[in-house]
């Protein structure tokens, strides 16, 4: 005897409902209730008229799990079409990621470490930062985390690179068109607020877990947001007086973009790149759930097998990488700022 029986009787829908005899499979909650010898509807005095509660009285109404099932079926139905479009487009990403992973692991450490230190030096031009980078990498290598750290780093390089290549033009386009900005900002908000694990769910359905583009896409979607936002903001913040001067001297829009807007927006764009790097590092750890190699795998092992030491050492390794990437990109950023007001 369910709570809403009376309601359906009143509406004269008893016949359509089939007299309350539900033919839907039993839910786990029902099973538990039955085994305890109770009627499930007696739990609440006045239950909310939700799908499940109404279904108790009228078997022809759907249950909530039919809704989630419907979403899943819809997604699966669209999958072949989506896959046939997305697969070829994203295939280069797999090649890039595999190539980068191979390059980073195939290059012997005595070549790789000097190259990384040199990159740190040319980007930052700062002795303390460079020494810190060298020290951190050697420390990671000393505790036998060199290979996994390089895997993480190679994924970050590729994903940040692609985020910049895609994000800066999108940001420029947004700064030029208010309408585009209005339509893109909600998408960016969505990408930023969506819990990171939720990204992975549709991607797992679309691509096979053995393909590296699966985690590549997840990382790029998550990390591209700041570089787009800050490129847009940076260009919009360029001093209108300077733009007016550029117009007054007859610059066309390409000249304005390349000679005025981008150089003046560069500090903001670089701040976006810094954020993008940090966010791809955050995501690469989570992406280890979907077979992304690197330090994240060790963290995952620590959680799964309760290997405390393994997890903590990998965690410290991630912190070290984060500090390296942050310091180097911040030092590069402040160097960009300096050229404007160097005394």
């Amino acid at each position: 005897m369910a709570f809403y029986d009376g309601l359906f009787r009143l509406l004269g829908l008893e016949d359509w409902c089939g007299g309350g005899a539900s033919d839907a499979p039993l839910s786990m909650a029902d099973l538990l209730a039955q085994s305890n010898g109770e009627d499930s509807a007696q739990g609440a005095f006045f239950p909310f008229p939700s799908l499940d509660n109404l279904n108790e009285s009228c078997g022809n109404l759907s249950q909530t799990r039919d809704l989630t099932k419907g979403i899943e079926d819809g997604f699966l139905a669209a999958k072949p079409a989506l896959k046939s479009v997305l697969d070829p487009i994203t295939q280069p990403l797999s090649w890039l990621l595999d190539g980068a992973l191979w390059t980073f692991s195939a290059t012997p450490w005595f070549i790789m470490v000097p190259i990384l230190v040199a990159i740190a030096w040319f980007a930052s031009r700062s002795k303390p930062v460079t020494i810190f980078v060298a020290f951190s990498i050697l420390l990671l290598a000393f505790v036998d985390h060199y290979d996994v750290a390089m895997q993480t780093l190679s994924i970050i390089f590729v994903c940040t690179g692609i985020s910049i290549v895609l994000g800066v033009p999108i940001g420029i386009a947004m700064s030029k068109s208010d309408r585009l900005q209005r339509s893109v900002v909600p998408i960016l908000d969505l990408l930023q607020t969506l819990p990171t694990f939720v990204y992975l769910i549709p991607l797992i359905f679309l691509f096979s877990v053995t393909e590296s583009k699966l985690y590549g896409i997840a990382i790029i979607l998550y990390a591209i947001v700041p570089v787009i936002r800050l490129t847009d903001l940076g260009i919009r913040l360029v001093d209108q007086d300077v733009i007016e001067a550029a117009n007054a001297f007859g610059m066309n829009s390409n000249q304005k973009l390349l000679k005025v807007e981008l150089p003046l927006a560069l500090p903001n764009i670089m701040a976006g790149v810094n954020q993008t790097i940090m966010m791809s590092l955050a995501m690469v750890v989570i992406a280890s759930l979907v077979s992304a190699p690197g330090l994240g795998v060790n963290v995952l092992r620590g959680i799964r097998n309760l290997e405390l030491g393994v997890g903590i050492v990998a965690g410290i390794g991630i912190v070290l990488l984060a500090v390296i990437l942050d310091r180097v990109s911040k030092a590069a950023l402040s160097r960009v700022d300096m050229t404007h007001k160097s005394h």
Binding site: D239, D241, V242, E244, A245, N247, A248, F249, G250, M251, N252, Q255, K259, V260, P263, L264, L266, T339, H340, K341, S342, H343
Partner: protein
């Protein structure tokens, strides 16, 4: 000088607002600025501007803030499009130019100096000065040579590799002027170019401009809110109020014969002795004894100094070695008193 002015603005109207074109009949029917704002929510920026800018002269447009003077100067190179009216530059209707032609005209015919300098902060002084030529597609060696030449001319040699932020305001504006001169255009638009500078530097810059003008004879349109500055620089003075021209003409003439209480108010605070020139106050030459000869372009201040304050003196006025008139110190003192319509 040919009859065709370098720049001619005729019947120029600018109304700010979404439906500015629809407002034209109201404005033409005589609706004023406050009324238009109240009844239709549109701002009347400029109304019926008719100004001829002669080649080789400094035309000063003066008005208080909100009078539309910056709006006006931006119409010359179409940084702002007018609602109605005609802008002719060298006889060419600017409104009919395509985007590419307009850019070409901005490159070749007019350069602009801005109140806030508007230099590119990421470029050196030399790169800033050579910017106009870079836009025109001139090769680097030529444009740097040209840039160096004009930087030296405005007194900035040795600073070419500095960045704008390292220079003082006055020096930055010198870069702005060098940039405009390097563009090698006939017309220079100066939008409150000296207003952001402190008074001493402003005087320096005014002298620099006059000195350059002596030599280059550019067609300069100069915007200012400072009457002293306007009177010092102007060959032709245009006074703007609420988007309309109240009086225009030769500055000394405006000073001596203000057409309107608004302008009387304006000119009453001026140091007339410094601004008025002998030429404007002198009388026709007659017989008599003269204490000394003075130049027609001397200002009255120098005459007062010369006479030592004695009003009994009479001077003969010379111009280019010829006697053109005479000036009595008594007339001079009378001319120093501003005419107020209520008192007259």
């Amino acid at each position: 000088m040919s009859d065709m002015p370098k720049v001619r603005l005729s019947g120029l109207y600018k109304i700010f607002g979404a439906r500015h074109k629809d407002m034209m009949p109201h404005v033409k029917a005589g609706m004023g600025k406050p009324e238009l704002l109240e009844t239709h929510g549109h701002v009347l920026g400029l109304q019926n501007i008719n100004v001829d800018v002669q080649a080789g002269e400094i035309t000063v447009v003066m008005g208080l803030s909100g009078s539309g003077k910056s709006t006006l100067i931006r119409h010359l190179n179409r940084l702002i499009d007018p609602t109605d009216g005609e802008i002719l530059i060298d006889g060419i209707d600017v409104m009919k130019l395509s985007d590419a032609e307009l850019r070409k005209m901005r490159q070749d015919k007019m350069s602009m100096v801005f109140q806030k300098f508007a230099l590119l902060p990421h470029r050196t002084v030399l790169q800033n000065a050579a910017m106009a030529l870079e836009v025109q597609g001139v090769d680097e060696a030529t444009r740097n040579a040209e840039g160096m030449k004009w930087l030296a001319r405005v007194g900035l040699d040795g600073y070419e590799n500095h960045f704008p932020a390292q220079l003082s305001g006055g020096m930055q504006q010198r870069v702005g002027i060098a940039r405009a001169l390097t563009a090698n255009t006939d017309i220079m638009l100066m939008d409150e170019a000296f207003s952001a500078l402190d008074p001493l530097i402003r005087t320096d810059m005014q002298n620099l401009l006059l000195e350059l003008q002596e030599e280059l004879h550019k067609t300069i349109v100069f915007i200012t809110h400072d009457l002293d500055e306007a009177l010092k620089l102007a060959d032709h003075l245009v006074i703007l109020k609420d988007g309309a021209v109240v009086q225009q003409g030769e500055p000394q003439g405006i000073l001596l014969n203000p057409s309107d209480p608004y302008i009387e108010d304006f000119v009453s605070d001026i140091n007339r002795a410094r601004v008025l020139r002998v030429r404007s106050v002198m009388q026709p030459l007659s017989k008599g004894k003269f204490s000394a000869d003075v130049d027609a372009n001397d200002n009255l201040e120098s005459l007062i100094a010369l006479s030592g304050g004695d009003t009994k003196h009479k001077y003969r006025v010379m111009e280019d070695g010829e006697a053109v008139g005479q000036i009595d110190m008594r007339d001079l003192v009378v001319a120093l008193v501003p005419r107020i319509s209520s008192a007259a």
